[in-house]
């Protein structure tokens, strides 16, 4: 919409070949009988499954109801949430640092970041967690001071690091390797001209990053990071390797070891995992919307006007609480140019 175009329609004569009278098409719509058949079959199959499951004794629904708000379970759910949040926060901070290091012109800094990624992405997180559990055997004390001199401060590793702390460290350091690649892809996705424009305006490197590069890379970073948070929530079930036993999965296994009834407690744990992932997906939707300002809003169905357009969505709103795992399909333009590579992980 240029100014010139607006002026023309306002003042100038109408174009010579103006639209003649067009006749609306009145055709019989193409029918899709197979769609209906498939839908009916799927609905019947699903209904049968639900009715069957409701009456199947092995699921033991009364026990599920009894334990879903059991204090031990709700506490464990909270611990799982804490593990997820703490390790993700550390992972994001460390991941950003590693991403900036990998983009550094200094070859030593670059290589260190590369080596970190090679180690922590190249070994299973379960193995890493077992290693962290054995850290007190490898390093009996934590010393602070100048190397090869008497330390100023010394502490027993076992005392200093609880199993919870070790679990957070183990999860965070592994996750940081993946976050680093996601952040790097995001930073590289921003056009080089943006940095130049900001530099030419006299902005410092830090200002350029904070005000120009990072906000734009967020569009690329958020969808895979949402995946990582959800993935992390589920990966916390591996902390039993440390061994840390107060997370949701380990706790429900422990309870079922007393009741000799594992299935309902697995369902209880799953309900809580699904509850949390659903909340996270809604949060991701709003974050994506926030960082899509000014871009990704060329939707054909928009009503026009700036406010409408900027409020457009890029993500797909997940249906929370539907009990079905919902898949978020990021818009094609939101896919990072560099695939951080999730294949065959965990």
């Amino acid at each position: 919409m240029s100014d010139a175009a607006v002026k023309n329609t306002a003042a100038g004569p109408p174009p010579p070949d103006g639209p003649g009278e067009s006749v609306a098409i009145k055709a019989i719509r193409l029918r899709h009988p197979w769609r209906i058949v498939f839908a009916v079959v799927l609905v019947i199959a699903f209904a049968l499954f639900v009715i069957d499951a409701a009456n199947r004794p092995a699921y033991d629904w009364p026990t599920v109801a009894k334990y879903v708000f059991d204090k031990r379970i709700t506490e464990a759910a909270f611990v799982t949430l804490q593990l997820t949040v703490y390790s993700m926060i550390i992972a994001i901070i460390l991941g950003v640092t590693l991403a900036v290091m990998r983009l550094s012109p200094n070859p030593v800094v670059k290589s260190v970041a590369w080596f970190y990624l090679w180690v922590f992405r190249g070994t299973p997180v379960y193995v890493q967690l077992v290693f962290w559990g054995l850290i007190a055997i490898i390093y009996q004390t934590i010393d602070i001071g100048i190397p090869f001199t008497e330390p100023w401060f010394q502490m027993d590793t076992k005392v200093a690091l609880s199993t919870f702390t070790l679990a957070v460290i183990g999860l965070a350091l592994n996750e940081a390797a993946y976050m680093a690649e996601i952040v790097r892809a995001g930073l590289l996705s921003v056009d080089k001209g943006q940095e130049e424009a900001a530099t030419a305006l006299g902005m410092s490197w830090f200002q350029t990053m904070r005000r120009v590069i990072v906000p734009q890379s967020m569009r690329i970073i958020i969808p895979p990071t949402g995946n990582e948070v959800i993935s992390m929530l589920k990966t916390t079930s591996l902390v039993t390797a440390v061994p840390f036993s107060f997370d949701l999965y380990t706790r429900s296994r422990d309870i079922s070891a007393e009741t000799f009834n594992p299935i309902p407690l697995l369902i209880v744990a799953s309900i809580w995992y699904l509850f949390f992932t659903s909340i996270l997906m809604v949060g991701q939707y709003f974050l994506e919307k926030r960082f899509a300002r000014g871009v990704g809003d060329r939707r054909p169905d928009r009503k026009g006007g700036v406010d409408d357009a900027t409020g457009a969505l890029t993500g797909t709103l997940p249906v929370a609480g539907s009990g079905q795992p919902t898949v978020i399909v990021p818009p094609s333009e939101g896919n990072p140019p560099i695939n951080p590579g999730h294949g065959g992980r965990r």
Binding site: L201, Q207, G294, V295
Partner: protein, 270 residues
Amino acid sequence: MTDTITPGAASVSPAQNDVPMVLADCVSKSFGSNEVLKSISLEVKRGEVMCLVGPSGSGKSTFLRCINHLEVLSAGRLSVDGVLIGFRESNGKLYEMQPKEAAKQRRDIGMVFQRFNLFPHMTALENVMEAPMQVKGEPKAKVKQRALELLARVGLAERADYYPAHLSGGQQQRVAIARALAMEPKLMLFDEPTSALDPELVGEVLDVMKGLAKSGMTMIVVTHEMGFAKEVADSLVFMDGGVVVESGDPREVLDNPQHRRTQAFLSKVL
């Protein structure tokens, strides 16, 4: 060339003396073994509009980028308003500047890019307000008022709240000019400002630039718009292969080129 300043002149307001706005003395620039600029010497006076023309790859954009230190010189001296760009000289030795110092020098030099490079996550108004607020730390109300005035000056007062994606190329480039002017620069650099535009949108950007030239702004314009050069420019420099082939009054150079290379180029462009 710091030695052209008399000792007393440094303390006087730069606008009072007759130090050229841009003084390039044997400026060279190489990327690896590829010498893009070969000993360029030229002078742009205060209030002068200079057009740089030449075939692509002739080094005109690189020269422009050297002026605000987006590229670092390989050889020679380049000063803006009597101050050396990118380097500090003391006791006859040159020291490369800290990024902070270089950023401070760029504040006074506005730049407009071929591809606009507006910040897509900010509205037109926010784009214009960004640098004065972040870099100069000016109060928001004051910056906003000035930004709205600037947008009105480039004819986009009604588009202040539009995101760049909703503006045409010509409108985006006009916002980019307003954004550069918001820093109240003493020198404006234009790097092929109309080359990425639809032909019918070129005029609106050139009109804004003409207005700017009339207001007395010192401008260096890399362009292929010979009409603009003839009408607005005070001087024209023809570059090819990293050297200045011919320079002088734009009408003379364009109508009566002396050098064979200039003749060949102009016969294709005009």
